[in-house]
């Protein structure tokens, strides 16, 4: 037991102290921080330069209103769009367009908007510029002209624009999630996103830490250090020490991330304020139920032990990291299949197939967890999935322990499956 701790300590300390761990642990919250704040900060900093745009308005009625509709200002308080009306007769139109396009070419103008006389019937306005891929700007132009044209059409029929907008108001669909205690919570699709984010996080963690176990075993085997180790400690304890040591690294990382996330959400307003933003313009941080976090950790721990055991077997069978990459494929499949099934389970969390699949031990971490987030099943069902996973873990540890014991001392050709099965009887 104390030897297992020695192995665990070595795995834990060498990893915690490694550059890779420090970088990953710091980079991840930084990445989240950037993802959360970048849009806020970017929207606050309007560094756009003023744009000079010529407008040829053949209708002669749209321009004045357009000037009001496109009234955005830059950070320094100037108009963002410096509009310049060019009056031209129908006969000179072609020549004038040519001339203005040449000005765009040599940089005197940023853009040219041509509103034809028949815009009320044909619905088309032309815009010329060097860069026409700024979606935001294009949408702004389209909306500005559309609203003017629509209003004119409505007036032409003798209706009041106010009345029309009053009559064509959209209906809101408000969604409520019925929780376990019967209480209802307003939920506008966050559940789906939250489920997806948490499950992806679980999936990535299981693969990443499982693969780390595999790598650690293969490294020990290929560097031939393993026999020196197993002469002092039972292979089973070696395997257990490695799995627990690397798992502790994972939990440490989660803890650090959770603390960072809590810090970010606690001080989010203040940080936005620092950039001169409105503190109360609440960042929509999804509220995660504490029980879901508990389930997340439990399914990570159980799932990790189950998959790390499989990964340890792969690591013990192969001779090199390259061989390991190939042979880990079946293990990864056991994680990808539930990810594919997840869409179905989100839509039908209580279908018989969903219930059955979520109790299959290799699928439980992802599918049962999905069900818990979407529509929490009865506690009995959850407990059953725990029990099945624990039985599966015990069975896997028993079988893999035997494969591990033989595999780590087998050098040379990669063994075939029948050979590996034979090891179970050595």
């Amino acid at each position: 037991m104390s030897k297992m701790l020695t192995v665990m300590k070595r795995e834990y300390l060498t990893r915690i102290k490694s550059k890779g761990f420090i970088i990953a642990t710091v980079a991840m919250p930084l990445f989240i921080l950037i993802m959360v704040f970048a849009p806020v900060v970017l929207s606050l900093i309007q560094s756009d330069d003023q744009q000079k745009i010529a407008v040829i308005d053949m209708t002669n009625v749209i321009y004045p209103e357009l000037e009001t509709n496109l009234g955005d200002t830059t950070a320094s308080g100037e108009r963002l769009y410096d509009l310049l009306q060019v009056e031209v007769s129908a006969g000179e139109l072609k020549a004038e367009e040519e001339r203005l396009r040449a000005e765009i070419q040599n940089g005197e103008l940023n853009g040219l908007m041509v509103i034809p006389e028949n815009v009320f019937q044909e619905n088309n306005v032309e815009y010329y510029a060097k860069n026409v891929s700024n979606f935001n700007q294009n949408r702004e132009f389209r909306n500005a002209i559309s609203s003017i044209v629509q209003e004119a059409r409505v007036r032409e029929r003798g209706l009041s624009p106010e009345l029309v907008s009053e009559l064509t108001r959209r209906v809101n669909l408000e969604t409520f999630r019925v929780g376990k205690d019967g209480g209802e919570q307003k939920d506008a699709g966050q559940t789906f996103i939250l489920t997806f984010v948490l499950v992806m996080f679980l999936y990535i963690s299981l693969i990443a830490y499982g693969a780390t176990v595999m790598q650690a075993v293969t490294e020990e085997k290929s560097s031939r250090v393993v026999e020196l180790v197993v002469s002092s400690i039972k292979p089973f304890h070696l395997m257990a020490g490695k799995i627990l040591g690397i798992g502790s690294v994972g939990l440490t990382q989660f803890l650090l991330w959770a603390a960072t996330a809590a810090g970010i959400s606690a001080y989010a307003g203040a940080i936005v304020g620092m950039f001169g933003g409105d503190q109360s313009a609440g960042l929509a941080m999804p509220q995660i139920d504490a029980s879901i976090l508990v389930y997340f950790v439990v399914y990570f721990i159980l799932g990790y032990i189950l998959f790390a055991t499989l990964y340890a077997a792969v690591g013990a069978i192969v001779n090199s990291q390259e061989e390991a990459q190939q042979l880990q494929f079946p293990v990864i499949m056991l994680l990808i299949i539930p990810l594919i099934l997840m869409q179905f389970v989100i839509r039908n969390p209580n279908a018989t197939s969903s219930v059955a699949l979520s109790h299959f031990p290799f699928f439980s971490p992802i599918l049962m967890f999905t069900r818990i987030v979407v529509e929490t099943p009865s506690f009995g069902e959850i407990l059953l999935s725990f029990a099945i996973m624990i039985v599966a873990i015990a069975a896997m540890i028993y079988l893999v322990g035997k494969i591990f014991r033989v595999g780590i001392l087998m050098y040379g050709k990669r063994p075939t499956l029948p050979e590996v099965l034979k090891w179970l009887r050595y």
Binding site: T14, K234, L409
Partner: protein, 298 residues
């Protein structure tokens, strides 16, 4: 009490019978050689002693007790396939192996310092294993094996991969350890080393012990049938002599094995008649010869 005793130990891997009914006994405080050709079952035997693999049948006793983990903590083992954690510092590696054998961190640190000094390697203490030469890595592996001051040390092919200087260093270390009361078992196929170091040997072939006992006894049992001759002249006089079984010519001298020792006088007369004889000596067979002879017979 015997340091190690194997009684009728057997191990098969599927259809391959790697070790079939091996028995041997090692006296404490001696150097014991486990000899045999490649694939004879030496490494499998050692792995069974270390409980890395479990025997199918038979008994293995360490100092009169079953080879459980508690007893094995008093054994040091240097495997044939050996390596180090490449990215780990030497001091951490030694610390780790010391603690694996149940030493306290402080003790492990102190002892590794002593051993590094003994091997003139203190400058490497902060280096990573991968920065060391192969020979130096082997010395670190050896230190990791003996760090916890075991009563019994088992070394599987300890001399392979060492240069002559380090071979000498290892040989002397083994002798010093024996003088300090430690029992050393090592496997090798270099008969030269075994002959110089061992008090007793076991020759294993095809999973069975074919020759075991005190080295002197083994040699005596094989009989004195060899004669070394040094002379000036042609060696054709040795052809067609009925009692000459084998002739090994080494340029400066020949070693001749006789079918019957009583013919030695006859050979001496014969040699005097045909050459200028400078040396005529009756010698024990070398371990190398015993090895080849025994293995061939099997």
């Amino acid at each position: 009490m015997l340091a190690l005793q194997l009684t009728d130990v057997k191990k098969s891997f599927g259809k391959v019978h790697a070790v079939k009914g091996l028995s041997l006994s090692v006296e404490p405080g001696t150097i014991y050689g486990l000899l045999g050709p490649n694939g004879a079952g030496k490494t499998t035997t050692i792995r069974m002693i270390m409980q890395i693999i479990i025997q199918d049948a038979g008994e293995i006793l360490l100092y009169g007790q079953p080879n459980n983990q508690k007893m094995l903590d008093q054994v040091g083992y240097l495997p044939e396939e050996r390596g180090l954690y490449r990215k780990m510092k030497i001091e951490d590696v030694l610390q780790f192996f010391g603690e694996l054998k149940g030493m306290s961190p402080g003790e492990a640190k102190k002892r590794s310092q002593t051993w590094l000094e003994r091997f003139n390697m203190t400058e490497y203490i902060g280096k990573k294993a991968e920065e060391l030469s192969k020979g130096n890595q082997q010395k670190i592996q050896f230190i990791a094996t003996v760090l916890h001051e075991p009563k019994l040390v088992i070394l599987d092919e300890p001399f392979s991969g060492l240069d002559p200087v380090n071979m000498e260093l290892l040989k002397n270390t083994i002798l010093e350890m024996r003088d300090a009361g430690c029992c050393v078992i090592f496997s090798t196929h270099l008969m030269d080393h075994a002959e110089k170091l061992c008090n007793a040997i076991c020759l294993i072939n095809r999973g069975q012990s074919v020759l075991e006992g005190q080295l002197a006894q083994v040699k005596k049992g094989f009989g004195k049938r060899n004669v070394i001759l040094e002379y000036d002249g042609e060696n054709g006089f040795l052809d067609n002599l009925a009692y000459v079984e084998q002739v090994d010519a080494y340029g400066n001298y020949v070693e001749v094995r006789l079918s019957d020792m009583s013919k030695a006088q006859e050979l001496a007369q014969h040699a005097l008649k045909h050459t200028q004889l400078r040396r005529f000596e009756i010698v024990e067979p070398s371990l190398n010869e015993i090895f080849i002879e025994t293995v061939k017979k099997g």
